[in-house]
């Protein structure tokens, strides 16, 4: 009559065995290689790298396969691995101005130095299912790479004083993964948190600012995607050497101007930088960044979620969120028993009180 309470260990082992079988799918079909995922699911790989905060396409692809395509689970695998890696040092800040751009567009100027480069974008595709996989049949012709410099659009506005100067701050950026998040958080820390924030959450917040919850009238001054070299100072050598390249997506927005009787009108900035090709995320980050800057820019707090740094930073991490959300699957017999007993007692007392 009494259901045996023993058996948790065997149940877990069996569940894992079943999971392994499901993960593999039909064994008659070939196993997807990590390289295939890396090459053909590159945007999923990019998202896992960005939210996992670890630039390694092969590991991200491996994680996606292991997670059966559940990207948040894949991000989790990467995060749990990343946290065990020793911290050898910090690279020099990357120079996105010197980026070898695959894509660079500006929504604020029709043409500009460096030009508008569409790059590999879904933007003007018709979303028609491609049953014959035309893309595979028809490779695009390759042009010679354009090596002309591609200056930042905001630098052009900056030269004329039309946009706020970049606030200079030489204090080293805090490291979210090595120090507990303390509030209020500086902009560097906010941007760091947003760079690894859940894409869906960031998108929804950014969208809410467009619909009036903390509106900032953003123009995409520039969106660029490309590779930048990563350099590191090697103490033994006494100079920096290039240790590799990473792909980044950078978005700079030009936002509603501010000005007063003493200060001439100027546009303001929002900024987003994300690892890999993740332009939806980079745009979203720059909108949320701008909304979070209300205090510094002397704007009103309207109670919009995207303006509320504590709200945004406490809830943007999908690994924290999913863990806590899903933990309610765990046994809560003890708490529930306590509640059950309380409700029974309250009901009994209420019944007694009735004539």
């Amino acid at each position: 009559m009494y259901v045996a309470v023993k058996g948790g260990e065997r149940a877990i082992d069996n569940a894992h065995a079943w999971l392994a079988e499901e993960r593999r799918g039909d064994p008659a079909l070939p196993l997807m290689s990590v390289a295939q995922i890396r090459e053909q699911m590159a945007l999923a790989v990019n998202r896992v790298m960005a939210e996992g905060s670890l630039y390694d396409p092969d590991l991200a692809a491996l994680a996606i396969r292991q997670a059966r395509g559940d990207l948040i689970e894949a991000v989790f695998l990467i995060r749990a691995y990343r946290t065990t890696l020793p911290r050898i040092g910090a690279s020099r800040p990357v120079d996105t101005g010197a980026m070898a751009v695959d894509r660079r567009i500006s929504a604020t100027f029709k043409d500009l130095p460096g030009g508008q480069v569409l790059g590999p974008t879904f933007d003007y595709t018709h979303r028609l299912l491609d049953f014959a996989d035309q893309a595979a049949i028809d490779p695009a012709p390759l042009a010679a790479p354009d090596t002309a410099p591609v200056p930042h659009v905001t630098a052009i506005l900056d030269r004329d004083g039309l946009i706020e100067a970049v606030p200079q701050n030489d204090t080293p950026a805090p490291d979210l993964t090595r120090e507990p998040l303390e509030l209020p958080a500086c902009r560097a820390l906010r941007l760091q948190a947003l760079a690894r924030a859940d894409e869906g959450f960031t998108l929804a917040l950014a969208y809410s600012t467009q619909r009036g919850y903390g509106r900032t009238h953003a123009f995409v001054g520039e969106l660029r995607i490309g590779r930048v070299p990563v350099e590191m100072d090697i103490p033994e050598l006494g100079f920096a050497i290039e240790i590799g390249e990473i792909e980044l997506t950078e978005c700079e927005t030009v936002n509603q101007f501010k000005g007063s009787r003493t200060e001439p009108a100027q546009f303001t900035r929002g900024y987003g930088l994300v690892m890999g090709q993740s332009e939806r995320k980079a745009i979203a980050v720059s909108l949320v960044d701008r909304a979070l800057r209300w205090q510094e820019l002397g704007e009103d707090f309207t109670g919009a979620p995207a303006q509320d740094a504590e709200f945004v930073l406490s809830h943007c991490d999908n690994i924290q969120a999913t863990g806590f959300l899903e933990h309610i699957k765990l046994p809560h017999y003890v708490d529930f028993q306590a509640e059950l007993e309380l409700v029974r007692r309250l009901r009994a007392e209420a019944q007694e009180a009735q004539p």
């Binding site: 924290q320 899903e326 933990h327 708490d335």
Partner: protein, 290 residues
């Protein structure tokens, strides 16, 4: 698992956590922020407790892990296995034999000793969180010892229900200073917090907080003179071991209202059964034999 350090975390991280533990022990009940790491189990599944355990474990330790009082609930099994793999420490289900006990939502019935460390898993470390969602505000309230809001909440409970309607995670005051969340243990367990000879450590991984009760700390459950705190439990004896003083789980046995009550602390219950105690349904149970 030779790719990982003893007890998974690297020594730098352990040192950081140990510093936070020392600070927490020095200021009983105060929530110390710490740089919580991503662990290979999800946030909300005991990562705070796991990090404390990892930072405290030595190869000589004997570890016990319980969830809801039981050694055999799935997550307890999973955490115990994790430390068997990554630290190779001895494990036990016997409360008396353990040097370090990681727990979720219960304090063992068997009294602890000064040779033991009890590590709690904490979901929301801030006792004021559901009254004030902002961390910046609640930290200020602790600084100023401004706990009026909590008393108002308890008073409102009495006004509405005739009694304080908090049955678990019942707030306590530590050494007359900090109001502390004892983690979601049933309020039945609250009296065991006070004057306990063991070190009690509380870890909230997702919320990046560690707090502690050093041995023999005075811990008082909040109440009013005319509505004193009562450590309540289901009004039954254990159906397996007959204990009348242990916290009980209710087990539904059929769809006609049949139910039985059994100790939530499985080690305590089995120990009593082995010692010859018997409850109402003893002998009919598969659980007792397993």
């Amino acid at each position: 698992m030779s790719d990982y350090n003893f007890a998974y975390l690297d020594e730098q991280t352990k040192r950081m956590i140990r510093r936070a533990i020392l600070k927490a022990l020095a200021i009983p009940g105060y929530q110390v922020p710490f740089a919580s790491r991503e662990m290979p189990m999800p946030y909300g599944w005991g990562t705070g407790g796991v990090q404390l355990t990892a930072a405290c474990l030595t190869p000589e330790d004997r570890l016990k892990v319980i969830d809801q009082g039981a050694d055999d609930t799935t997550n307890a099994v999973s955490i115990r296995k994790f430390f068997q793999r990554t630290a190779g420490v001895a494990v036990t289900e016997a409360t008396r034999e353990a040097t370090l006990i990681q727990t979720r939502h219960r304090i063992p019935e068997t009294p602890l000793t000064e040779d033991q460390v009890l590590v709690y898993q904490v979901p929301i470390p801030e006792p004021l969180r559901f009254l004030e969602p902002r961390e910046t505000e609640t930290r200020k309230m602790h600084e100023l010892e401004e706990y009026g809001l909590m008393h108002v909440k308890l008073y409102e409970d009495i006004a509405r229900h005739g009694q304080i309607a908090t049955s678990y995670a019942y707030p306590v005051k530590v050494e007359g200073r900090y109001v502390m969340d004892p983690s979601p243990i049933p309020k039945f367990d609250n009296p065991k917090l006070s004057g306990c000879p063991a070190i009690q450590l509380f870890g909230a991984g997702r919320e990046q907080r560690i707090y502690a009760l050093p041995p023999h700390t005075q811990v008082v459950s909040l109440d009013f003179d005319d509505h004193p705190f009562v450590a309540s439990k289901p009004d039954h004896d254990c159906d397996l071991c007959g204990a009348s003083d242990s916290y009980l789980d209710e087990v539904i046995t059929d769809d006609r209202g049949g139910r039985m009550f059994v100790c939530s602390d499985t080690d305590f219950c089995m120990g009593r059964v082995r010692a010859g105690h018997a409850g109402r349904l003893a002998g009919q149970s598969k659980g007792a034999a397993a």
